[in-house]
């Protein structure tokens, strides 16, 4: 199967999953105790007003009509109105996206940049202090809840030593881009420094679990590859050790690691939600939490749909990348 046919097939599967996601999210409405009108109105409200609001929200329509109303707008970016602010949900969600994406990408970069060299070091210095250090680090790293790590980082580095802010996000990369577009390079550089200073602790918090996980995977994958006959054959033909290790063994190690990183993106986004809560980072996570506390179901539903759809899309991308780097995949 060619790469393009593979992509088409994966996209169709993805569409199906997205439809399923939307349907599940629609169903969330039915498990909530009480109806949305209660959220908007005081309990002792005039029944007539109440009936009017219910009609306005379409809650007395037959189920299939409500489902159709819910699902038909989504392809056009219509995720409904917030119960609380009466503004479009889509706009609120989109406004939060950059913050969450920045955080997720920063954490991934932290993880990859630290974990892969550490895993390789650990595998090539087996049973030496570096290996034991890396092994202990990855064990503790995958066992530490990231919100607690965040609290500890704030405690030590922000409150006690005053090296970093307790975070929040005074400026984002989108804002910096706008400054640059406006020609104000000095302000953009300042903005970037501020951004970096504020994102450091959240990125470490979110990235630690992944760093630990990828270190573990890289180490065991690398050990596995270094034991393969082709590595011995590469040495036998005289290849320098760096080539044997990095061009041959490391690349074959990274191929499965890429898939795992893709699979773990869900955990990454889940982790982002709680990291945002710890650092008052104004992303999708805080939006989700606030919408639950405010019982603003349309905002919660819209955020869930965006998160799940993004996750599905990224997974298709990862699969394509995997197929690209691994010639053995028959795209099946």
């Amino acid at each position: 199967m060619s790469l393009s046919r593979f992509l088409i097939k994966r996209s169709l599967q993805g569409l199906f999953v997205i439809w399923g996601v939307i349907t599940v999210v629609f169903g969330l409405r039915f498990i909530s105790p009480g109806d949305p009108a209660n959220v908007l109105l005081p309990p002792d409200v005039d029944p007539e007003v109440r009936a009017q609001v219910i009609a306005e929200l379409g809650l007395n329509e037959p189920l299939y009509v409500q489902y159709w109303q819910f699902i038909s707008g989504i392809p056009f970016g219509d995720l409904g109105l917030s119960l609380v602010t009466r503004t479009p949900v889509a706009a609120r969600v989109v406004a939060r996206l950059p913050a969450t994406m920045e955080l997720a990408i920063a954490a991934t970069i932290v993880a990859v940049v630290i974990a892969i060299p550490l895993g390789v070091l650990s595998a090539t210095r087996r049973h030496q202090p570096a290996d034991y250090g890396a092994t202990v680090f990855s064990l503790v790293g995958i066992s530490t809840p990231n919100f607690w790590l965040g609290v500890m980082l704030i405690l030590v580095l922000a409150v006690q030593l005053n090296l970093f802010p307790t975070s929040q996000r005074p400026i984002g990369l989108d804002g910096i881009a706008m400054l640059l577009a406006g020609g104000d390079v000095g302000a953009a550089v300042d903005g970037f420094v501020t951004w970096l200073w504020h994102i450091t602790l959240p990125a470490i918090t979110l990235g630690t679990y992944f760093t630990a996980l990828i270190t573990r995977l890289t180490r065991s994958g690398m050990l596995d590859q270094l034991g393969q006959t082709y590595v011995r054959a590469s040495r036998a033909k005289g290849l320098p050790e760096t080539l044997v290790r990095y061009k041959h063994a490391l690349r074959n190690t990274l191929i499965p690691v890429i898939t795992v990183i893709g699979l773990q993106l869900g955990t990454l986004i889940g982790g982002a939600v709680i990291t945002e809560a710890v650092f008052a980072w104004p992303g999708l996570g805080t939006l989700i939490i606030n919408s639950i506390n405010a019982r603003d179901w349309p905002v919660l539903q819209g955020s869930l749909i965006i998160v799940a759809v993004g996750f599905v899309l990224v997974n298709i991308l990862v699969d394509a990348l995997y197929a690209y780097v691994n010639p053995q995949v028959a795209y099946d």
Partner: protein, 354 residues
């Protein structure tokens, strides 16, 4: 169900690995702590003492400085037109009565950790069991019947996987509310624990109920069953091709019987390994929900970490101690998981971590 060979592998791996021994000891200690909480806990986890709030743990003391206006003969001292103030330092020392210190309401942190273990372990065990039950049912049916059934079940699993588990869990608990079931603590209800406590001179008045966080258990199971389904399906797919399973079917054994008698016992090893890792993952999930205040639990490690945040500049230990309890427990479980994986080599993957 567990063959002699499996047991031999387990023993050999255990002898070889110091870490595996450590993991088992930690897990046993944590479970014992949870079970026997009413005997060993120094105080009730909810007993407040506002006069003794924020007492540091052993080995530490705090010095709080305050600006106090200087008084002389009942009136403030004024020099150069300014009110003269002086700095006073208030020291708080650790005591053996509260080895891990006290929280913002003067509750004993050690007692809260001991009782918090109950919440974590209850949710970990019940949540994992429920997830395993759902997942194994779905996975075995999918793998055993294949075709249409398999397609439908596994596509719904794909849909579940499209939601990050923590996000889905937050949404479900958030929407659903927080049903909890208080069940009487057998040790307290039968009077054994109070009798023991007065005999050894510990304060009595321990909580009479154990709170079972019902919604949280259901939600973590709903969020995590997919991993079990995948493993069970894979096993069922390979085992259904075995001769003895074909023979059982040819002899007219019912499907349910074939699955129970032949397929399930063979799938048990990888499911067991996955379950160990999942207990760790679910404990982390529960603590995250509690940290965000969504679980409704008021004695929970995650919840206490959140409570301690408001004292982060004055009393670091309030957030630190329960977090350490989580880390130690999860490390223990992961070590046990590694041990089982190394000894049984089931070749599975499963999500973990928050």
């Amino acid at each position: 169900m567990i063959s002699e060979r499996t047991r031999r592998n387990l023993r050999r791996e255990l002898r070889r690995s110091l870490l595996a021994k450590l993991g088992i000891v930690v897990v046993i200690l944590m479970v014992a702590m949870a079970i026997f909480a009413p005997f060993i806990s120094p105080y009730s986890p909810s007993q407040q003492n506002l006069d003794n709030a924020r007492q540091p743990p052993l080995g530490f003391s705090t010095a709080e400085t305050r600006e106090v206006t200087q008084m002389e003969n009942g009136s403030v001292v004024i020099e150069d037109g300014q009110v003269v103030t002086e700095t006073q330092t208030v020291y708080t020392n650790a005591t053996f009565a509260h080895p891990l210190g006290t929280d913002g309401n003067g509750r004993d942190i050690l007692s809260r950790i001991i009782y918090g273990a109950r919440t974590s372990i209850l949710v970990g065990l019940f949540g994992t069991s429920l997830a395993a039950l759902i997942g194994v049912l779905v996975g075995l049916s999918a793998g055993f019947y294949r075709g249409r059934v398999d397609d439908v079940l596994m596509r719904s699993a794909d849909i579940m996987l499209a939601f990050p588990s923590l996000v889905l869990a937050i949404a479900l608990v958030g929407v659903w509310g927080q049903a909890q079931a208080p069940i009487p603590d057998p040790f307290v209800a039968t009077g054994i624990a109070p009798a023991f406590r007065s005999a050894v001179g510990l304060p009595t008045g321990m909580p009479e109920t154990v709170v079972l966080p019902g919604t949280v258990i259901v939600v973590v199971a709903l969020v995590n069953w997919v991993w079990f389904a995948r493993v069970a399906r894979g096993e069922a797919l390979s085992i259904r091709e075995e001769e003895y399973v074909k023979a059982a079917k040819a002899l007219g054994a019912s499907d349910g019987r074939t699955v129970l008698r032949h397929v399930l016992p063979n799938a048990i090893t990888p499911i067991l390994v996955l379950a160990t890792i999942q207990v760790a993952a679910i404990i982390l999930l529960e603590s995250a929900l509690s940290f965000l205040g969504f679980s409704g639990a008021d004695v929970s490690w995650g919840f206490d970490i959140a409570l301690g945040r408001q004292y982060q500049s004055t009393a670091w230990w309030i957030s630190t101690m329960p977090g350490l309890a989580i880390v130690v427990t999860v490390i223990g479980l992961n070590l046990v998981g590694d041990w089982l994986r190394d000894a049984l080599d089931p070749g599975i993957e499963g999500e973990g971590g928050v």
